[in-house]
């Protein structure tokens, strides 16, 4: 995992979201194969967009509170927050360029 991705939990989620202007959180689970397809893409993006977008990763199995709060019913789901406000999430595996374009449009 990229050093630019922070492991999040139900406990540190809010403070992470609040302390960065633009945040992408990858909601995943160990058994979810598409999540493993997405992971290397987000690793690259986290490095490319370091300093512009803060990347986090949340295991939905271990952190049911956040999954429940954001009504997550499919993984991978990428939650995106701009100045603490939830934007339209990205659901499912997406090509790197699509995710990048979406994030750039939020800057």
């Amino acid at each position: 995992m990229s050093g630019n991705i922070v492991e999040l939990t139900d406990n540190n989620f809010d403070s992470f979201v609040e302390s960065h202007p633009l945040v992408l959180i990858d909601c995943w689970a160990q058994w979810c194969k598409p999540c493993h397809m997405l992971a290397p893409i987000l690793d690259e993006l986290a490095d490319e967009l370091a300093g512009k977008v803060a990347f986090g990763k949340l295991n939905v199995d271990e952190n049911p509170g956040i999954s429940y709060r954001f009504n997550i019913s499919a993984i991978p789901t990428m939650l995106i927050f701009k100045n603490g406000v939830l934007q339209e999430p990205l659901i499912g595996v997406r090509p790197k360029e699509d995710i990048k374009r979406y994030l750039l449009s939020k800057m």
Binding site: C32, M37, I41, S73, A74, P89, P95
Partner: protein
Amino acid sequence: MTYDVAVLGMGAAGLQAAITAARKKASTLVLGKPEDSALWSAEVENYFGVPRVKGRELVSIAMEQASAFGAELFKEDAIALSKEEGVFTITSESGRLIQSKTLVFASGISRKKLNIPGEKEFFGKGVSYCASCDCNFYKGVPVAIIGEGSEAAISAELMTNYASRVYWIVETPQASEHLKERAVSAGVELVAAKPKEIVGDSKVAALILSNGRRLAVNGVFIELGARSSTDMAMDLGIIPDPEGTIKVDRNCRTGVEAIFACGDITGKPWQVAKAVGEGCVAGTEAAAMARGV
């Protein structure tokens, strides 16, 4: 017996891989359903030396050719793959276990979208394309599985461990009797109809069927076709890209030892010529590796 080469997919790439490998005296088995290949329903007019031909004619000739060189054709889909001590085990949909020294993925690109109203709108809000990913979110609620092949049968059976009721919407099941029986004995209810529309407010509330019946469900799992190769590839350590394609080098090697890929599954152009070319390379390489030459 342990085959030298097992090929997944009975289209242009898979059959060419089998022809090439069998001609090189490798014991070869091809799994798949020829009618599921993209070539089967295509009309081809840009293939070398052939002015115009129906895809199914090419496939049928290639099947005979592969058999004539000694390849075994087995018209079933693989539903699971594993590797132990250098030998691959393939589970077919009837439960047959096949062992092979090498594996060639030639199973094409699967069509996953259903294209009915509500499908796009409710994606991630009750519509899912991955039962094994999202099963946990549907504990104690009714769900519907849409699809005719092995992927739907396996997903329906899986969902009985989570959902309160599991409907399998299937007009003409293509999955094997073995998989169908497993699903039914797990408590899956078969509904012979076509899906027409997915409805709800902010989340899925029901699935409307072509016969007018309204099924109250909170989840709709769209699982078309055979169990996807990309899904099984991941069990062996291959990570496909978001389009579901498997990256290969010029020898059709996937990066995971003894696994090759060819045809549409490796990416565009989705042309018979490219599929056949790659099939030839993959078949040659797999046979050479298995036979240690």
